[in-house]
Amino acid sequence: MNVTLKIWRQKNATDKGRFETYEMKDINTHMSFLELIDVLNEKLEMEGKEPIHFDHDCREGICGSCAMYINGRPHGPMKGTTACQLHMRHFKDGELITVEPWRARAFPVIKDLMVDRSAFDRIIQAGGYISVNTGGVPDANEIPVSKEVADEAFNAATCIGCGACVAACKNASAMLFVSAKISQLALLPQGQVERQRRADKMIAQMDAEGFGACTNTQACSAECPKEIDMVNIARLNWEFVKAKMHSKAIEVDE
């Protein structure tokens, strides 16, 4: 099959950037979308031109590295699929495919399709953990967790930190990402002790990073490659209310 690629090229953070168009001929439909970019890059390099820079590593939909809009949608047209797991058989012969980096204030463009998502790491650092040191913990089976709760926590924990939720949201909100982590830990008995503190701190960091507010458009969940559920956002809102009530209580105590 043949396709035309219209790809965003931007030399660095300060460059204005522009689209460039590339004709791709005789593409094998079993190829993944990133392999298509590999093929293009080989061609560019042979012509002495700079290859397209993009983040990628596992190519199995699990590391969360790959990140790009394909035809205006984060990770492209397939539901529940990262760009690296998207195959050319899902495109039409002769199709024009537009490729762009995430567009969000908190994810500045580094080069071409690469963006800086370190804000996500800082949100986790703010409180996305259970504070236990190595060693001195109870036997694993001393903390029973019902299968339903374990499964729910697992569903939230499958977030790969790709940022598609932010990219999909017109407000560039990070609520789905943040809520997935908070839900995972709030659902489990191990996460109870720090529950309120955690929600408070992670949300404060999220705001500090310049992510937008959530207006419940649900685009995030619809475009999330791991199909993280909106219910997590509802849980987060609840956690947040409780966190606020709790911190007020502490202020009074002190």
Partner: protein, 637 residues
């Protein structure tokens, strides 16, 4: 050079406890005077960085991805072993030890493996405390599954995403220490060389991948946790960025490299579909719990699988290995797949595939049960191939997956360079000539959470606190070497892309130093790789400069190291005149075609010493002593 394994004396079961008691301690108040560099944030590195920081050391951690959470450990699917015996099926520390030694075809150190089995139980406790959502039974307790090479059910799992959940646990523990100011994290930073001062590892030279700047970092000890080197083969199940650079540079600076020829070929991967293929995808081995492996009895049978009646199918693993059946260890399963394909009974367009069939399991347990166990794997398979495994058997073929070889380490996980440690897949320590499924995650976390926090103290306790400034001439010299090398690569401006050269290397290694090897093939490969090296250094084309973000240069620099390591793998494979585990030399096999070891002459760890550009490496041997298990011909019949 004498290799001192520092294996403790005394009965196996008491060695680690005794050893821990004998290790020197650093007083809690003094720990903050020591700086430790941890390169790599996979399971081994992240768990080490978190644990060392919790103890009070100052840690600097490095990874080349944009976030520590994306280390390749994230991709591990199937599970993690631990001798919990929660299933009451006869498991024990000794049995896990025994299975690992046997699975490794008697080419690993008893003491290390026993310790691994011993701390395995603590790992599960630790992960659960962190909130890792392992699979559970309805009663609320942890669930287990079985894996190849074992007859007990000891594998803990989180659907098909165990590595992801374990890594996020370790990453969150490390993130907590970042917030505490005890870990300084350097993502998108690649270690390009080691700095040695007065015979001790004292720092690293790194490249900031965003700016291209070459920088130095100084510390009292350096821990490498940089993963495996399967990407020597170009096509493997490893992530695109997995590389050998850190370990290889350490090797060139004096760290011995062990058993490089022990590579694991995983039996259940999605077959290659074309030239453009950039990597191979693993289908978790846990699938062999319920899937049945078969090919047509008839050569060249082109009928669709559904059209082939039961009596014309050859369930060759069940036929040849009645007691382990489809759950034979990986090396055995892979070799048998190759054998039936070589006979012309392979399936699919290329004839390089076998079926993995779930029809019977679905009939027996129902669609729902099978989908609960393997749903995400089936989905992944369908995404990649376009076929639905609920309806038509999967097609699988072996692919390079894991490297048992790595930097030589003693019982304390220290390499032959004082102050340089190696953890996780980048060392050689625990899996002998073949790793059992679900044991790499176990080893990475054992090393990081439960071994290095003890053993590094013993070394640091004898070190003065003084810091070496990065303006020291040793740092400046290495920085210069690194810059010169990168500039050299850029300046070649030849006619082949990095991938083209890498593919050539991969092809040679796969054909001649892959699933089965011969002396003749290896000798040819030796010459061919020499040629590839020459082509690289005269004809590679890298666009851009070294003083900016340049992904092609990153790849090129890694490929240059893969080429050199490839040569050493070939030498190692050639010298080991026996078959063991993942190293199968066609000249050495039993009449039934099984690997034939030569314990009399090869019961040792090969440890290679770098001698300089273009010179042959020197072989050192660490003799393996078995006091607790009897060496037998591995049999899974």
């Amino acid at each position: 050079m004498r290799l001192e394994s520092k294996t403790p004396e005394g009965p196996l079961a008491e060695q680690w406890t005794k050893h821990k008691f004998n290790l020197k301690l650093v007083n809690p108040a003094n720990k903050r005077k020591y700086d430790i560099i941890v390169v790599g944030t996979g399971l081994a590195g992240a768990s080490a960085a978190a644990s060392l920081a919790e103890l009070g050391y100052n840690v600097k951690a490095f990874c080349f991805q944009d976030s520590a959470r994306r280390a390749h450990s994230i991709a591990a699917q199937g599970g993690i072993n631990a001798a919990k015996n929660y299933q009451n099926d006869g498991d024990s520390v000794f049995r896990l030890f025994y299975d690992t030694i046997k699975g490794g075809d008697y080419r690993s150190r008893e003491s290390n493996v026993y310790r691994l089995a011993e701390v395995s139980v603590n790992i599960i406790d630790q992960c659960v405390a962190q909130g890792v959502p392992f699979a559970r039974e309805y009663g609320g307790l942890l669930a287990n599954r079985s894996f190849g090479g074992a007859q007990v059910s000891r594998t803990f799992y989180a659907r098909g995403q165990t590595g992801q959940q374990l890594l996020l646990g370790a990453y969150s523990a490390m993130s907590r220490q970042v917030a505490n100011g005890k870990v300084k994290m350097y993502p998108r930073t690649e270690m390009l060389d080691l700095v040695i001062v007065e015979g001790k590892a004292r720092g690293v030279v790194v490249r900031n991948l965003l700016t291209g700047e070459i920088e130095s970092h100084s510390a009292h000890a350096v821990v490498l946790a940089t993963g495996g080197y399967g990407n020597v083969y170009f096509l493997s199940t490893n992530a695109m960025g997995c590389n050998a650079t850190a370990a290889w540079r350490a090797h060139k600076k004096g760290a011995l490299f062990s058993n490089p020829c022990y590579t694991q070929i995983h039996p259940t991967c999605i077959p290659v579909s074309g030239e453009y293929q950039s990597k191979l995808t693993l289908m978790s081995e846990s699938l062999r719990n319920d899937g049945r492996v078969w090919v047509p009895k008839q050569k060249g049978d082109k009928r669709s699988p559904q059209q082939i009646p039961e009596q014309e199918r050859d369930y060759y693993l069940e036929r040849k290995y009645p007691s382990f059946g489809n759950l034979v260890p990986r090396d055995v399963a892979s070799r048998n797949a190759k054998a039936v394909c070589d006979e012309g009974r392979g399936v699919g367009e290329t004839g390089l595939a076998v079926y993995l069939d779930f029809a019977d399991a679905i009939k027996r347990d129902g669609m729902e049960t099978i989908s609960a166990k393997y749903g995400n794997l089936f989905e992944m398979y369908e995404k990649i191939t376009g076929y639905n495994p609920y309806e038509t058997p999967m097609m699988i073929y072996p692919a390079v997956h894991y490297t048992m070889g790595g930097l030589w380490v003693d019982y304390n996980l220290m390499t032959t360079i004082p102050g340089l440690y190696a953890l996780g897949e980048c060392n050689f320590s625990d899996h002998g000539a073949n790793r059992l499924g679900a044991s790499a995650l176990m080893q990475g976390l054992a090393d990081g959470y439960f071994v290095i926090p003890y053993t590094i103290g013993d070394y640091l306790a004898g070190m003065p606190y003084n810091k070496i400034p990065t303006s020291h001439e040793a740092f400046k010299k290495v920085e210069e070497e690194v810059r010169t090398r990168l500039k050299k690569i850029i300046s070649i401006d030849g006619s082949q892309t990095v991938d083209q050269i890498h593919k050539k290397l991969g092809r040679i290694m796969w054909d001649k130093c892959g699933m089965s090897r011969t002396a003749e093939g290896l000798k040819q490969a030796r010459e061919e790789v020499k040629k590839v090296k020459d082509e690289f250094w005269h004809d590679v084309k890298v666009i851009g400069t070294d003083e900016e973000l340049n992904q092609t240069l990153e790849k090129a620099s890694r490929v240059a190291d893969f080429i050199e390591l490839g040569s050493l793998m070939i030498e190692d494979a050639l010298h080991r005149n026996e078959s063991c585990g993942g190293h199968f030399r066609e000249e050495y096999q039993t009449p039934e075609g099984e690997a034939k070891r030569d314990d009399e002459n090869f019961s040792y760890v090969a440890a290679w010493e770098y001698k300089g550009e273009g010179l042959p490496e020197t072989l050192h041997k660490e003799q393996l002593v078995f006091e607790n298990v009897k060496l037998t011909q591995r049999s899974y019949k």
